[in-house]
Structure formats: C-alpha cells, structure tokens
Amino acid sequence: MSVAVDVAVIGAGPGSLTAAAYLASAGAKVVVLEATDVAGGAGAAPVDVGGLSVPGTPATLHALDPRVVMDLKLTRRGLRFSVRDLPLVALRADDRLMIDRDRHATANSLAQLSHRDATRFDEFRRDLFAAARALRALWWEAGVPPDASTRSNLRRLGMLSAEAMLEAAFETEAVKAACGFDALQAGISPSSAGSSLLLAWRAAQEMCGLQGAVAIPRGGGPTLASTLLQAASEAGVELRVGTKVASIHVDDDRVRAAVLATGEFVPARVILSNLSRRATLMNLLPPEAAGFAMVTRLRDERTVGEATILMTLNAVPDFAMACPLARFVMVERLDAVVAAHTEARLGRIPTEFALEAVIPTASDPGLAADTTLLCVTVRPLPVAPAGGWPSHVAELFERVVQRLSHHAPRLRSSITGLNVVLPRADQDRVTAAHIASDWPARLATPVEGLFLCGDAAEPVPAVSCRAGRLAAALASAYLKWGAP
C-alpha cells in the first residue's frame, strides 16, 4: 500500500492534468496515475508517419477553456498558436466557398452561388453566436442557472436537428454542407433531434479571444500537454507513468483507493477519472457499485466516431496552393452525410463521408522538417466496423486519397508517409440530453468521492480542460464538506 493521498487521478489526459493542477494549487495532495509512459493523453504521444515522428491528433483546437489558459498560466509556459482563426474553405465537385470571420469576404464568396444565402449567412452566424454566448452560462461554469430565455433556447435547440436548422437557414447545398461539418461530432447524426446543440456548442467556444475560432497550437498537441504537465508539477502533483489502474476500491458506497495492475493500493479520499464513464463505471468499479440501471444504460456504447489520417507530402496539395492556412472541408451534400451516419452506425465504412483537411506545417514548419503534414479528419466512421478495423484501413486510405485527389490531382504521387488515428473505442454515447445537462450531472458518478474529469464529462468531447477545472472545484468541495 502506498501513502494515502487526498486525490488520485486516473490517466494523464488534458482534463486530468488540469484538475490535478487546480487541486494541488489549492493544497491537496494529488497523484496522477498514467498507464502509458507518456503523460498528456491521446494527443501527447507522437505518431510515426513515413518514418517521421509527428505530433498526434488533434492538430487544431476549438474548445480550450480560456479560464484554464489564464489560471494555469499556459501562455507563459509556452502555449502559443501559430494560427488563431482558420477560415473554412468548402470544397465540392464544382464549387469552392470560403467562410471567414470577415463578413464581406464571406458574403462575396457565397454570392457566387446565392445572394440570398450570402445575406442570410451573416444573420445566421450572428443569431447562432448570440444564442451560444447565452448558453455559456450552462457550458462554461457550474451552478450558474441559465436565464429564462436561455432555457427556452435550450429547449428549442434540444428538439431541433442540425439538418433542419441548416435547411431552414440556407437554400444552397454548398452552404448547408459546409456548415454541417461541425455538427458531425460525438457520434450524433445531424438529422437527430437536438443535434443543433452541437453547432451551438461549437459556436459557444472561444479560442485566442475569438468566438467560434479554430486555432493551431504551435508544436501541436504535445505543447499543450507539456504546459499542463508543467503547471501540474509546479503545483506539487506527483506523476506516476507506467502505472495502470486496474480497479477502484469501494467500501460503504464510497471510494477508498485506486488499485493498480500490480495489486498496489493507492488510498485516496477522492478519485478523478479521465476515462470514459463507461470505462470508469463498468471496468474499474465492482459490478454493483455503479447501480444496475446505470450500467445497463452504459452498456450501449458509441457506435459512430471519427478518424484522423496523417500524411506527409513532398508538395503542398493543389487545393491549398492559394491559401494553405484553412480548414478544407469536403462535404458534397448534407443529406448524404446523414445517410453515411446510418451506414456507420451499422458498422460499414460509409459510401460518402465528410473530410476536413488541415496543413499544420503551413504555419509551423518545425512540426515536420521539409515536409508538408496533412491531417485529414474523416467523419462519420464506425467505431467497430464489421470484421475489425485492420481489414478496412487500406480501403479507408484509398477512398480518402481518391476524394482528396479531386481537388489535388497530384496528391497521390506526393505522399511520402501515411498513418491513421482510428476512432476511439469505449467512448460514451453522447445524447442531446447529455449536452444540455448541467456540470454536476456530467462530472458526478453514483459513487461518493468519484468524479469524471475528461472528455466524458464535457458536454461534447473535445480538448477543452473545462471538465478538469470544474471537476477540481467539485472535488475540493467534497474534500472540505463531504457529499452534498
């Protein structure tokens, strides 16, 4: 048995490092237990692409909590952005649109297809951003009751699908499809009730002081991880890598210790888990501790996810020649993506998927020397395709390269390396109700003293660290006053 701590944190992802840093700064004795040898979570470990070690996913950030950046002094620790706000370039077979923060540039671009949509877009974005700002009361802080108009907005969005929202707003397929990409998150179909909340949630985020922006961190994911690690270790957090947690010891309906794979007990008053709710409650707890109904609900795992294909190229792809600093979104039609979602849910690689390509080396050449790094996010994909992923990876590469080649005919011959980050298994199913619920409902578990602090507790899974900050607040209150 090791020394008792106030807080044991399972996994060293961005959420848990944030929570650990906050708790240790407040005087708690905190230990972080990470199974792998690399702290920082999924994004921190480098990926091998054509013999080159490049930062893993995600290449871009869109949801990082500004309070965490400020409180943990991440900028001073070296978190910089090579691009603060990537415009969106929508590529389709016959058209190319640019959606930028500059409303005139955007209107000019959209006017090629429809004057109505060109004027509507600005109104749409203004309304969405205004509604989203109001919803920050729910999504940014715990315990701030949203006012009546925000609640009614939430109810309205909770019933509205992203598809219906975009159908009502725009007349051209191109605009609907371009805006639809951001609704393809969390394994939710854009046609399902409440999926418009995904667009609102995206719009509520702020990167580098800009609402709804997508930014590229200099140095990629590992930079964020290292700044968080620095903040945590400076606050006095003990980090143990190569330390897999096998179970959580519960006695009298309360957590008592994290039990390591080696059999060692790490006694703790509070345990924070960076893993999914499913993995935490089903795999780490004794079978009865989470509650029979809860576990039955959790058995239903997420079936639709996304993958990122990383490519090294010896030439910039044609579609990015004129302006390489953009998110190149390739969605032909929104309704085709809805159909794709159904295919993915049934375990098939969809006939037509949506792509987003980003070239981080365009702004940060240091990421991969003398090479163009292309990160392509593919949505929606089955989490567990029939026959398993290994038998589908080659097909996926081929189809993605084919799609990209429409807009970059010389791409195939310029590829020097390829790798893929497959959809994560063991993720929780995200529903509209989950996105609209309040923080305590997402952070707390049925077991006293056990809280979630990673993706699972975010309204929409993403690198945000907000769950970590709010889990720390909840854990602090628990350490001080016990269960509410």
């Binding site: 309906d253 009865e288 509650g291 029979f292 109904a293 576990v295 039955t296 077991v447």
Partner: protein, 364 residues
C-alpha cells in the same frame, strides 16, 4: 408478457368449480375471481381452510455459480446467507432506491435462487445479471396452490403429506407418485407441482379436505386475507418504481425488509432517503379512501394510505398505511374519513392446529 391468456395447471378444476364464471386475469393467466361468494371464501380460511391458485405469480430463477454474489447485491437482505430450501422476504430497488419489487427469495440449492413476486421484473434481473455473469430466466408452467387456514395442517396430513415445516422454508418431496414441493412462504402452505399434475394435486386436496370443509377460494378472497395480514403487494398497494425514481422504502414503510449493513443496489440512495417509516394497518369508520390519501393527526400530516378493501371478518373497510413516525394505535383522519392506525397484522389467520412434533424457531 404475452398478450395471450394462459391457463394455470389447475384451470380445468377451477373452471368446473367456478359456477358463476367469475374470471380475471393476472400476469396473463385466467383465474377465478371468486367461486360465488368472496366474503365466505375469505372467512373460510379463519374457520376451516381454502385453496387458492397462485400459479400466476411470476417466478424468476437466478442461476450460475455467481448467483449467490449476484443475489446478495440484488436484494435488500443478504440472501446468500440462506441455507438451501430456506427463504426470505426482500425488496429490490433501482439505483435511486425506488422499490421495484417485493418478493420471496428462495434458495433452491447452492447456485439457484427463485424469486416469487407479483410483478416478475425479469428484464431488470436479466440486465443486472450480465454484470455478475449470472443468469436470470422465468420459470414457467409450474403450478402453485396455496392452502390457507386453520385446518391446513390436518388436511395435509390427511392427504399424506407431512406438514411439519418451519415458516420460510420448503421441502421437495415425493407424494404418491408425484414430485411436489411443499413450502411455507406466505399465509399458509404452498404446494408446487409439475404442470401436468395440477388436476391430481387439486383432486387429492379436495378429497383430503372434504371432512375439514376445505373449499376453493378466488383471487379476491386472497387479496382480503393478504391485506388483513399486512402483506404489501406491488401493483395493488403501490405503483412499483421503474428505471429511476419511484416510491422509496421509506415511502412504503418497508424498512424491516432492508439490512443496510450489507451492500445492495440502491443502498446509497436508501441511506440518503431518511429515517425509517412504519407500515401500519388502517381501520376505517366508513368508506375506505383512495390510495395515497394523506393521514392527518391533529391537523398535521403524519403519513399516507396505501391499498384498502372491505374485510368481511371485521365487517369494516381496512387498509394499509405508512406513518412517518410515531406509534400506531392512534386516531387519524384519512381524507375526510376517521380511521385508526393499528400494528400489523390487522387480523391474523388463526394458527393452524399445531403439528405434534416440535418445530424449531424460524431463521432470521
């Protein structure tokens, strides 16, 4: 549950005796509501004996080597401590400590339990069993005939069955060519038999009971007897909880069926739900009020009523109620009806004429 009506193993005999054709359905089974006179049937248990078809009650079998571990987490009492052929009354709760069911858990052998209840709840048991790698399935087809009343021991003896059995136990036995199980889990004895043996069992009991004024009784008489004896039944006396929320143990005054020293599903929520309340009998001066009517003492709400009906033995409406605190034996107002709260059972069935052999005390 199937929507087809099913017949119990005793249906042929029950139909022959049911001269008024008074039928009802419980759990998909066609059953006699009464055989002509509900009051007489209920009273007969006090002066002689009645037999009642309980084959409709769902029985869920919990099996596999992990069943004891599963059962001890499922129910509010540690039934894994039961010896084979012993039984205990217990509740099962959802995660919020809402009462999903009340039933009798019987340990058949080391790895097998059977849960007898009015509500079944097989999907809940099946889903929960997965976590423990245990199995839950419904036992179908078996007949179960209750023998209730003063003369039941003598009738069993006359029929060639040994009635010496502690309460909450059972015995499997070979009865002149039939495999039967005799148990004492409810108000009297229960005789379990194979589906095809129903008519023989019925006939043998009728023959043995002829000189003891044994008569068949319908479900309505059984409801009266149960209420007089303080038996709470989900679906009749309260609406059972679903996946979340629902009436708590405290809401139903069933804390006696909970042993919070051992872990069970919903224990944390049960502990948060407050202090124990008390299940009492209510005797109404005039008409019985609707369930969930507040019980008022000196202007303060002190509890609520559950199910109620007319007791022929007391010639008065009686019911069950829950008192938040305080002792029974007090005058209350239920809605606008004056009533009296009394300790349970309201009116016990006279003990059967005792067997000659000494019976050890019941298990805890």
């Amino acid at each position: 549950m199937s929507t087809d009506l099913r017949a119990t193993p005793f249906h042929a005999r029950s139909a022959a005796a049911n001269a008024c054709n008074a039928w009802e359905t419980r759990n998909g089974f066609t059953l006699a509501s009464h055989y002509g006179d509900v009051a007489r049937e209920a009273l007969a248990a006090r002066f002689a004996a009645v037999m009642v078809d309980l084959s409709w009650q769902p029985r869920v079998i919990l099996g596999e080597p992990t069943a004891p571990q599963f059962a001890s987490r499922l129910f509010t009492r540690d039934v894994s401590q039961l010896a084979p052929e012993e039984a205990a009354k217990a509740l099962w709760l959802n995660d919020d400590a809402g009462v999903r069911g009340v039933g009798t858990v019987v340990r058949l052998d080391r790895e097998t339990f059977v849960v007898i209840s009015a509500t079944g709840d097989l999907p809940w048991f099946r889903d929960a069993a997965v976590q423990f790698k245990a199995a839950a399935s419904e036992a179908t087809g078996q007949g179960m005939l209750a023998l209730v009343g003063h003369m039941s021991d003598r009738i069993l003896r006359a029929a060639g069955l040994d009635p010496s059995l502690r309460p909450m136990t059972l015995r499997r036995t070979f009865w002149r060519g039939l495999d039967v199980t005799l148990s004492r889990l409810g108000l009297g004895y229960e005789l379990w038999c194979e589906p095809d043996d129903g008519s023989i069992v019925w006939d043998r009991l009728v023959a043995a009971g002829r000189s003891f004024a044994l008569r068949p009784a319908g479900q309505l008489a059984m409801d009266i007897l149960e209420l007089e004896n303080g038996v709470v039944r989900p679906g009749r006396d309260f609406a059972p909880a679903g996946e979340a929320g629902g009436p708590t143990v405290q809401d139903l005054g069933l804390s006696d069926l909970v042993d919070a020293r051992q872990p069970f599903n919903g224990r944390a929520a049960f502990r948060r739900a407050g202090s124990p309340s008390r299940l009492v009998g209510l005797v109404f001066d005039t008409d019985a009020p609707m369930p969930e009517t507040p019980l008022v003492r000196n202007g303060d709400k002190v509890g609520r009523s559950l199910g109620a009906l007319h007791s022929p033995a007391m010639r008065q409406p009686i019911g069950l109620g829950v008192l938040d605190g305080g002792a029974p034996d007090s005058e209350l107002i239920a809605g606008s009806v004056p009533c009296r709260a009394i300790a349970l059972p309201i009116l016990p069935i006279p003990a059967p004429i005792p067997p000659t052999t000494e019976v050890p005390p019941p298990p805890v």
